[in-house]
């Protein structure tokens, strides 16, 4: 049987899928991919169901070696340098790693998480229908913890199918959209205005449980303790220090801080990919707008297979050029913030 052996991997890397819903009433949070679109795109590239388990790779580098046969993979999410035995692999493409070859991933050059999908998925023992790692609950398969060097991911032998790229909507640094509530009445209108009028940065102490935000102090009207109630992905809770925390897929199922607003579901993955230290803003939208966005996002996920394209030639692939840093557009490998300023138009130049 083929397998991917992890030669090296940074922290915050784990097997994730669509998550396990249905047991939040028992305190078990769903977990699952931070960026669901990137997960679904990676799986679509290798012919898997969109929310099949894949490797969520954190901001640091990683190296995977194919053993026992060739393994076909796809890479999406945070852009980073990638090569298979010296051959560049572009983001948002599939590629086959021959037996004994290694796929080497560099640091994220923007964004935070990349997704490495494996053709046929990862073999493991599902718990509540999911392989997603939730280390606190002891869940996840093949390893109920973040991945580390020496781990092995069993895989199907590569099919030999033609490699593909996928055309995703262009990256944007538009504001992250929120809807107010459930506890925005714990804050004055001035505080709410401050929240949407200010620039925010994601703190380096963020993780899969929550993204801590740095910005102006948000004052509570009646103190920072409320009787615990349920949380969702994207809940913007404001603890005593007035610095909000966005709750992410490994959050606690309940929390006792007022939640001023909630990131709309369609924007959560985009928020998850904002690198620490990069400034961004929030914008409030109505429930009708948020739900229209949610429906559009569901439609995007549903139609991902229509976005698959043949790879004409690696040399002419604009993403590959971009990744190889030879498109005349210097992208700093150190300053993670540059990616969001780069659009495809910038790389290709004006017509």
């Amino acid at each position: 049987m083929s397998k991917l052996v992890i030669a090296s991997i940074g922290p915050a890397s784990s097997v994730q899928d669509g998550g396990r819903t249905g047991a939040q009433r028992y305190g078990l949070v769903p977990s699952g991919a931070m960026d669901r679109l990137a997960l679904a795109a990676a799986n679509t590239l290798v012919g898997n169901e969109p929310f099949t388990a894949a490797v969520e790779v954190g901001p640091f580098g990683a190296k995977f070696t194919a053993r026992g046969g060739a393994v076909r993979v796809a890479l999406t999410g945070a852009p980073r340098n990638a090569d298979i035995a010296g051959r560049a692999m572009a983001s948002d493409t599939s590629a086959t790693i021959a037996d004994g070859e290694a796929l080497t991933l560099g640091f994220a050059r923007g964004g935070a998480f990349s997704y490495l999908a494996i053709e046929g998925g990862i073999s493991g023992e599902p718990m509540f229908g999911s392989l997603a790692v939730n280390a606190r609950a002891g869940l996840g398969s093949p390893y109920p913890r973040p991945l580390q060097a020496g781990d092995e991911l069993p895989a199907k032998a590569a099919s030999g199918a033609a490699e593909r790229r996928i055309e995703l909507p262009a990256a944007t640094d538009a504001p992250i959209h929120i809807v107010w509530g459930p506890q925005d009445d714990e804050f004055t209108d001035e505080t709410k205005k401050l929240f949407v009028d200010s620039e925010w940065k994601i703190s380096a102490t963020s993780d899969r449980m929550g993204y801590r935000l740095e910005g102006p102090t948000l004052k509570h009207l009646h103190g920072h303790n409320i009787v615990s109630d349920g949380t969702v992905n994207g809940s913007l809770q404001v603890p005593g220090n007035g610095q909000p925390i966005v709750l992410m897929p490994d959050r606690g199922t309940s929390g006792g801080y007022p939640k001023i607003a909630t990131v709309i579901s369609a924007d959560l993955g985009r928020l998850a990919q904002i690198p620490a230290g990069h400034a961004f803003r929030f914008r409030a939208v109505s429930m009708a707008e948020a739900q229209a966005e949610a429906r559009k996002f569901a439609e995007l996920l549903r139609t991902l297979p229509e976005r698959l394209r043949a790879i004409e030639s690696v040399d002419l692939n604009i993403d590959a050029l971009h990744d190889a840093n030879v498109a005349g557009h210097a992208v700093s490998a150190v300053d993670a913030g540059t990616w969001h300023a780069v659009s495809l138009a910038d790389v290709a130049g004006p017509d």
């Binding site: 939040q24 305190g27 078990l28 606690g252 309940s254 709309i264 739900q291």
Partner: protein
């Protein structure tokens, strides 16, 4: 027979009368007031029909927080659990899961299948239904080893409340508790029904790590903590019962709404029970009610 309106609306006040109860006049003529007092059951029904509607608070585009109270409130928690059962009995298409808490029910849904307004109307209709008169709740007896290394705060709690550790244990064991919610981490069961004489503020400095199976008190609550983790509550003891255990059927032992009482055991019994629990035994006894 039903009282047509809630009690406070039976009097019509002019602004001048408002502050003087002597001047209050019955809204209904004497004939109505002289009728025999309605039976308790009828009055309860009438009350149910006029229960204040919960607040529907948006939690993003895919969940609604149905809030019955802002406080820890037993009546509100009963309404939360009643709505949870009602939604299970009469599912609304598009609802994906529900999460009961002390004072609110979080309803997760798929906005592709149902919108906020339609779902909100459906929830309000269910929330106005009177709670079923009898709801079968399970009753669990959970053994606890109190004090010593297993309950490192017992002595301090006794000192703070000006009594003895034995008295604290007696008060805790005497309680009839109900699982108000399960949350934070898997199996962490928050119980309502803590005696007033055991209420005390949480610790100033939460501990980063407290043991699995910890039985603790905090504020007006007591709880059964399943996994090791942070806690700002006062640790009274430990139980071998795993409210969450993989590879056991069921994986989760307690349900919101279950009744719980505690029974003291010694450290040796705890150690034996802990080994048995590790092997998959429930340890908690279900008591016939």
């Amino acid at each position: 027979m039903r009282i047509p309106l809630a009690a406070k609306t039976r009097y019509r006040l002019s602004p001048a009368q408002e502050l003087d109860p002597e001047k209050w006049v019955p809204l209904f003529p004497k004939r109505s007031c002289s009728k025999p007092k309605p039976k308790l059951r009828d009055r309860l029904e009438a009350m149910a029909a006029t229960l204040p509607p919960p607040r529907l608070l948006p939690s993003g585009d895919s969940a609604i927080t149905v809030e019955f109270s802002r406080n820890i409130d037993d009546a509100a928690n009963r309404r939360v659990l009643a709505l949870d059962r009602a939604l299970a009995a009469e599912p609304i298409a598009g609802v994906t899961e529900t999460v009961p808490t002390y004072r609110s029910l979080l309803v997760h849904y798929d906005p592709v299948q149902i919108g906020f307004d339609t779902l909100g109307e459906g929830i309000l209709a269910l929330a106005q239904l009177p709670a079923p008169a009898t709801t079968k709740a399970r009753h669990w007896r959970i053994p606890v080893v109190y004090g010593g290394e297993h309950g490192i705060d017992l002595e301090d709690v006794a000192k703070t409340l000006n009594t003895t550790p034995e008295e604290i244990v007696a008060r805790h064991v005497a309680g009839d508790y109900r699982v108000a919610m399960i949350g934070f981490t898997p199996g962490w069961s928050y119980l309502s029904g803590l005696a007033d004489s055991l209420h005390m503020p949480r610790r100033q400095n939460p501990r980063l790590l407290t043991p699995a199976g910890t039985i603790s008190i905090g504020g007006v609550q007591t709880g059964v903590q399943c996994l090791a983790g942070p806690s700002g509550w006062h640790l009274l003891g430990r139980t071998a019962v795993r409210t969450y255990q993989l590879h056991r059927d069921p994986i989760f032992l307690l349900e919101p709404g279950d009744n719980v009482t505690f029974t003291p055991v010694d450290a040796k019994t705890f150690a034996e029970q802990d080994r048995a629990a590790e092997a998959g035994e429930f340890i908690a006894e279900q008591i016939a009610t």
